[in-house]
Amino acid sequence: MRIFRIAALAAAALGVLSGSALAQQKLTMWSRSSSEAFMPGLIKAFNETHKTQIELQIVPSSEMVQKYATAAAGGSAPDFVSLDLVYAPAFAKSGTLEDLTDLAKSLPYFEHLSKAHIGTGTYDGRIYALPMSADASVLLWNKKLFKQAGLDPDKGPTNWAEIEADAAKVNALGGDIRGFYFAGACGGCNAFTFMPLIWASGGDILVDGGKRAAIDTPQMHDAINFYRTLVAKGYVPESAKTDSGKNFFGGFATDKVGLSPIGAFAIGNLVKNYPQVEFGVTFIPGKDGGRASFAGGDNFVVTAGRDNLAAAKEFLEFVYSIEGQTLLAKGGSLPTRSDIAAEAIKGLDERYQIATEAMKMGRTPSSPVYNDVFNSSTGPWKQMLNEVFFGTDVDGSVAKAQASMQSILDAAAD
């Protein structure tokens, strides 16, 4: 009997210990350096109010994919990762990620989560990634230069002809001032800012569930001609030709550029670090109007086989709460839950409203080989853009890119 009592006590003690261990569960999470403005604050707020604790590690953005893939292969990957949403299909395909379909569907506000994020997070009909942070591409104009050029400083352009006309007038101010800026040698930047020109004009980039490239289209040729005209007329600074993304934001921040398509991240950065730049925010328009945006940002993923979906759900519920969404917005990320987005950005710079609207219509091409096709500095997208914007053989370059992209997509489908 005594032995039985001791055993019962020991079992109870073990239960308490394991219970407290569960309650004190400490999980690891990686996030890329571009999220440094909001992720530490978000995690701190979560840790302060929850028993589950998350230890955040910031990883340089350029190293995240290699680091996570290597760690996953070696069994030392973190529990959670905030991963650039374009890489979610590649990781999902490789089996690195936990299936979050049931968790996602159990969220009552699932329908209001960013469609673009869910789109890239879905592979073979299952959901492996959910929205973490967001950024949407928008068009910025310099109000001071607009005023000096005799334009209405409160009205941004709504089609390509207006962009060209506005850029011409700003450019005419002379000196170092130029009408338009884009990073001409950056594949990722132009996916973000050039693709919306095509979408808003009725075209597309990847079709058939990301299996077919639709590059050689009238909309693509129109958009290329539009940029070529801006370059040929001297509205684009010489430095744009070789900007591999280092000056993607800096170009507009010089206060010497009339218009620039860029991410919503620029809004907070300009307000905080370049208060002298008076700017307006509008949607990236199509040829004859319309509007579109590239949805960027990060997806939340769980490393497969860790048995921590309960903690993941606890964290996601915090992220999607009004408190979490407000913390994200204050740190420079757009809200990822549309039904409370307006409330989350209340009190922030009113220009965020345009970016939040842009986010709602945001699109992201989804493919396991996104990096090969669009981001790689030797990939077909970047090579084509640099050639068609500044080279001579537009038709040849577009045809070559179409064939090259398709062969990469075909190889990935095998």
Binding site: Q66, S377, T378, G379, N386
Partner: protein
């Protein structure tokens, strides 16, 4: 009966081989640490790279053995061959350029004259800067807006507008050649200087007494006696140039329009941007084979008549 000359006594064959074997063993023990290092840091990684090159080895997902599939793919890879052609072209130009600067510099700093030490230090100084740092420095110098060359030329009235030197192949290429010569000529100068200092002054004196002109002395005495030194400098320069990467990646990002992508840049891009690790390994093996062939040919061509 005549006495046949007796050969000195030799140890029995069995004893001789035992002694030789012991000697060999001691020798082997002496080189063992170095051998272990070579094995650990060169042979094994090389073997692993070769094994990897026989696989479809993505960063994400499981490797699949495909025999020589990566090698057959490589033959149809137009970008690889164009990168290789560009690398060979760059190697030829930059090697000539480096020697054209390093040799006169070596001759200049060879003789003891006032400030020689200062000159030697000044010419050698860029060598101690890493290629990455030097490339970052030159990327800034070549920047069209915030750099030095373009704005300076514009403000001095030499150009009507600021010219983006990195937007055109020729200006990009020659800018990088100048940067590499600035960076490496000092190193080659030091190698050549040791060769020059190894030539006996008596030989030069004798030639001078015989009435040889400075050019004749340079051609008939200095150059032939420096054959080995030149071979060393040339092999180092060619091998280094064939592996060029940092400067093209950092300064030009392979541009304009992918025209300055070197072989190593393409390997890097395939391995760490596109994450085709198996294919990257196959490309590396082929580049290694090409480099070995080039080095052997160079050694043969530069071998002095009495042997190296």
């Amino acid at each position: 009966m005549t006495d046949t000359p007796q050969l000195p006594d030799r140890p029995p064959r069995r004893l001789r081989t035992a002694r030789q074997r012991r000697k060999q063993l001691v020798g082997l023990l002496f080189v063992a640490p170095a051998l272990c290092l070579v094995l650990l840091f060169f042979v094994i990684p090389l073997g692993m790279a070769f094994w990897m090159s026989l696989h479809n080895w993505p960063l994400l997902g499981k490797p699949r053995f495909i025999w020589f599939g990566n090698y057959s793919r490589l033959f149809g890879d137009a970008q690889f061959w164009s990168s290789l052609r560009f690398t060979v072209y760059y190697t030829l130009i930059v090697t000539v350029a480096i020697f054209s600067v390093a040799f006169p510099l070596a001759l200049f700093v060879e003789k003891a004259r006032p400030l020689t030490k200062l000159y030697r230090t000044a010419f050698f100084l860029p060598v101690v800067v890493g290629f990455g740092s030097a490339s970052l420095l030159w990327a800034w110098l070549l920047d069209v807006d915030s750099g030095l060359f373009s704005p300076a030329a514009y403000w001095l009235g030499l150009t009507a507008q600021k010219i983006n030197l990195l937007a055109d192949f020729d200006t990009t290429f020659w800018s990088i050649i100048i940067m590499v010569v600035w960076k490496t000529a000092g190193f080659n100068m030091i190698i050549l200087l040791t060769g020059l200092q190894g030539i006996s002054t008596e030989v030069q004196e004798a030639a001078r007494m015989d009435g040889a002109s400075p050019w004749q002395r340079f051609r008939r005495i200095t150059l032939p006696l420096m054959r080995r030194t030149i071979a060393l400098a040339l092999i180092l320069s060619v091998a280094g140039s064939m592996l060029a990467f940092d400067q093209f990646y950092i300064i030009a990002d392979g541009g304009p329009q992918n025209s300055t992508i070197t072989a190593v840049y393409w390997i890097f891009s395939q391995s760490f941007m596109s994450f085709h690790l198996g294919y990257g390994a196959a490309l590396s093996m082929v580049l290694l084979a090409i480099l070995v062939v080039i080095s052997v040919v160079q050694l043969r061509l530069l071998r002095s008549p009495e042997g190296m």
